[in-house]
Symmetry: C2
Subunit: 522 residues, 2 copies
């Protein structure tokens, strides 16, 4: 593997041309009026809450019992154990028992909301409060599209998904491992991934968590873009720390957590739960465990650096009790999602969950229903940071090109839905009702003419033509139309400007690191 | 067209055999344990409400202004106009202006909730309150399936959809015009449709509204099944009366409305709205008009017979402002649905809306997303009667066989979701968390073993197998799997018992009516 993986593509030469100005306008025009970049969602509709006050109190009390009586393992990290001893926990071997209230008390130093800065300030996002940030799928080793079917992902796919997320107005974040570039050695991969996010997008992004030194590389590269002092005082990386459920944090994740928290960067502490395997088969039991695990992880981040931004994470689905296979889009995980969001609000920290999760191998009706059954709770529960918002297929094993386009279209639908109700005089439209009167139509009335351009959300994927026109257009399904859309978006893609000095410094850093890192597969 | 359309199929002979008992058990076994018939939804999770108290008051005040200042046309029905004059309205020509409070006052005699009786009492449904009743698609002249593509519907298709709705555990109602049997003359069609609902299902069903005499035939046939007195004192038919929006009720619909209301049968008063054409392009403007129209229709039903069951109906979607085509699954109609449900609750009447609406021609990802974007609001808004819950394709032009199966599967998901949270000791699962402890798994623990059978909802459509197994099974998408399911369900279908005397009487009535009705196309 050589360093050409990190070389900016031939299009680099474009920078000079685009520096002359007008690129943004041209890009906007090319993408089309309804594809104007949207800022993160500032929700203006009510939340939906499924747990009662009594239910919440019960779960919180049970989680305290789990923390105190059962405890959580912090494995392969002696420093973490000693930090917990110093904080007043009861440590026996690698098992940490937390006196009642200790964990909740520590979390009080965590911010209720924080800004993750993007290198383009217009793309910075607010994580917490009434806000929702959509980020792409994270982690799949495979990709699927209509042209290639399913195959291992490469760095080229990785760049493509970064470009597609950059293009999609409703995807507010560049994400992290949008797919695993398996054509690059594991120990070097993170460098190319972080570089791609910086080079091909100007939206905020995620750092590597697969080893503490990869987390350190991520912070170093972020500092080259944002400056050392800025990074020390601001969040520019958000990072996914999974609990090893049930009730374990392992050394790898703890190592990455410590690097990021001490650098003042955000950590998403996410129990990864398939109920029936990593948690009990009930909603309340699963929520109890999630609250215990996420709280312990967030408290530990506060031990590393009080005030470090943390996010209460929840990845929860179920397994088929018949086959053991993970299932998605089912009702029980939706209840867990709604409930965990309530628990996070009561803790006073931002919440991560949701996404376009599905078990389907294809971007078919199964994929869409399952995705919708998680995306609806994502919006209505008040998820603040939504990983896997677009592109997830096959239980997270494949990043789908067409799926990405279909999901992103739905995200823009949800963003519009989040905007609430217009009660203004124009919204009331009494004059229009009066003008039209009984038995006529509103197509040409003054009110319709004044509002038609932005009255309704528009899908870029849906075909609403007549049957005959649709048939004459080739009887295409949504996946076939999405195939044409991602190809056009990649073709039309223009990279955002990046200071050439920063770019060169990043590439030099990467080359130096690659020279000393192994080429092995782990 | 001859009367064989209404002849019970060869399977009639089975009745003797099945009368010996055990048929229910055999049928249940054949359909599978998770296919046990479900009663209607008794929602045990909170509602989602999008309109504020101030917003609701504003819309109600504006609707009163529309009723008083603009008025509503009651066309081609002199009796209706004279009834409104007697009730204190200001009638000018066919335009009725309603003094403030008149309409709301009249609606007070309508029941908040009522039972629609099925010929099998176990299938009777409660319409109103915390209940949701799912009924099939209504109205399409075409059908689509993977075998035939798209073609005109026949009475055979009609029977098939009745049978599929009878088989689906999560479809609580047999519906009405599940497709238009265009192979039967228009003037005779209603007889075959009502007969099919009675003969091939034991779930509640709908009457004809396309002419007053067809409504009368529907009532007559219902009386042959339920008895004259029972029908006079109980609701056994629910019937769809569309307003001719904006602000018009036409003579056909008024004629049917009068027949049903006077017979004590339920009418669903439904503005049929495509915003931008039949209403203003705004949510609040559309809700104002819907409230005015639905209220006026429900009040008129109370003039016909105080206490007659009525349902506040809302069919609302939008049009593409670019092409004029109807669109579905968009955010604005979801807001209208949530808002109209709130307005209905404040009026104290049951609410009808929602469904598996979509513009897609195929049961693809577009169809699924659009359907989900209406089915989610259907549950969370607290819709009481949901027409079009399964089978809708192509803006209502086609009833889809595969779509029906995929939708029905989702309905069972929503039914499970509606059941709320189990806070019992078993739900809390603290013993399970203690038994398993950190770093193990829940697959074999006692709690999982005790709960695994019913812990999680199970899809009959989704494929959750590994990629390799799915590929070896033929790489089928959801539509292909659904195709096999509906064929198996039709093959396994066994008709419910029907008293032979009633059956003969119905067939004689139909033959007599057909002998005098014309064979024309209108």
């Amino acid at each position: 593997m050589n360093s050409t993986d990190t070389t900016a593509p031939a299009g680099d030469a474009r920078r000079g041309r685009r520096a002359s100005g007008g690129a943004d306008a041209r890009r906007a025009a090319r993408i089309g009026g309804h594809q104007t970049q949207l800022t993160y969602i500032k929700r203006n509709i009510p939340l939906y809450e499924v747990l009662s006050e009594e239910g919440l109190t019960l779960i919180e009390a049970n989680a305290e019992r789990v923390l105190e009586e059962i405890g959580i393992d912090f494995r392969d990290d002696a420093e973490a154990l000693s930090m917990w001893t110093d904080a007043g926990a009861d440590v026996k071997g690698e098992r940490v028992h937390f006196p009642k209230g200790l964990v909740r008390g520590l979390i009080k130093t965590a911010p209720r909301q924080f800004t993750q800065h993007a290198r383009n300030p217009a793309r910075s996002v607010e994580v917490g409060g009434n806000n929702t940030v959509y980020a792409p799928v994270y982690g799949p080793p495979f990709i699927r599209n209509l042209d290639d079917g399913r195959r291992y992902a490469t760095i080229e796919d990785f760049r493509n998904f970064v470009k597609l997320a950059y293009t999609a107005p409703s995807i507010h974040h560049s994400g992290g491992t949008v797919c695993e570039p398996v054509d690059i050695p594991v120990a070097k991969r993170h460098l190319d991934m972080v570089y791609s996010h910086i080079r091909y997008s100007d939206k905020p992004f995620m750092g590597s968590v697969t080893a503490p030194e990869r987390a350190r590389d991520s912070v170093t590269m972020a500092k080259m873009v944002f400056g050392d002092d800025f990074v020390d005082q601001n969040c520019v990386l958000i990072n996914l720390i999974n609990a090893n459920s049930p009730l374990v944090f392992d050394g790898t994740m703890l190592g990455a957590l410590k690097v990021y928290a001490r650098a003042g960067q955000a950590t998403v502490i996410s129990p990864f739960i398939l109920s029936g395997a990593m948690s009990a088969v009930t909603v309340v039991g699963t929520l109890t465990q999630i609250l215990a695990e996420a709280s312990a992880g967030m408290a530990f981040a506060q031990l590393c650096r009080p005030g470090a931004p943390v996010v209460f994470g929840t990845f929860a689905s179920s397994i088929s009790m018949q086959s053991g296979a993970p299932t998605f889009g089912t009702p029980e995980p939706a209840h867990v999602l709604f409930g965990a969001a309530q628990l996070a609000r009561r803790l006073g920290v931002p919440f991560r969950s949701g996404g376009s999760l599905c078990g389907s191998k294809l971007p078919d009706a199964q994929a869409a229903h399952e995705s919708a059954n998680t995306l609806w709770p994502t919006l209505l529960a008040g998820v603040n940071f939504c990983l896997h918002a677009a592109g997830w297929l096959e239980g997270g094993l494949a990043s789908g090109y067409e799926k990405f386009i279909i999901d992103a279209d739905q995200l823009s639908m949800f963003q519009r839905m989040s905007q609430g109700i217009d009660y203004s005089e124009n919204g009331q439209a009494l004059d229009a009702i009066r003008e039209v009167g009984p038995g006529s139509h509103f197509l040409g009335c003054a009110h319709t003419q004044a509002n038609f351009e932005n009255a309704f959300w528009r899908s870029i994927v849906a075909d609403n033509n007549s049957f005959e026109q649709w048939r004459d257009d080739g009887s295409k399904d949504a996946a076939i139309r999405a195939n044409a859309i991602w190809k056009r978006q990649l073709q039309d893609y223009v990279a955002p400007d990046l200071d050439p000095g920063i770019d060169e410094a990043l590439q030099a850093f990467i080359a130096n690191r690659k020279a000393v890192l192994p080429d092995g597969v782990s």
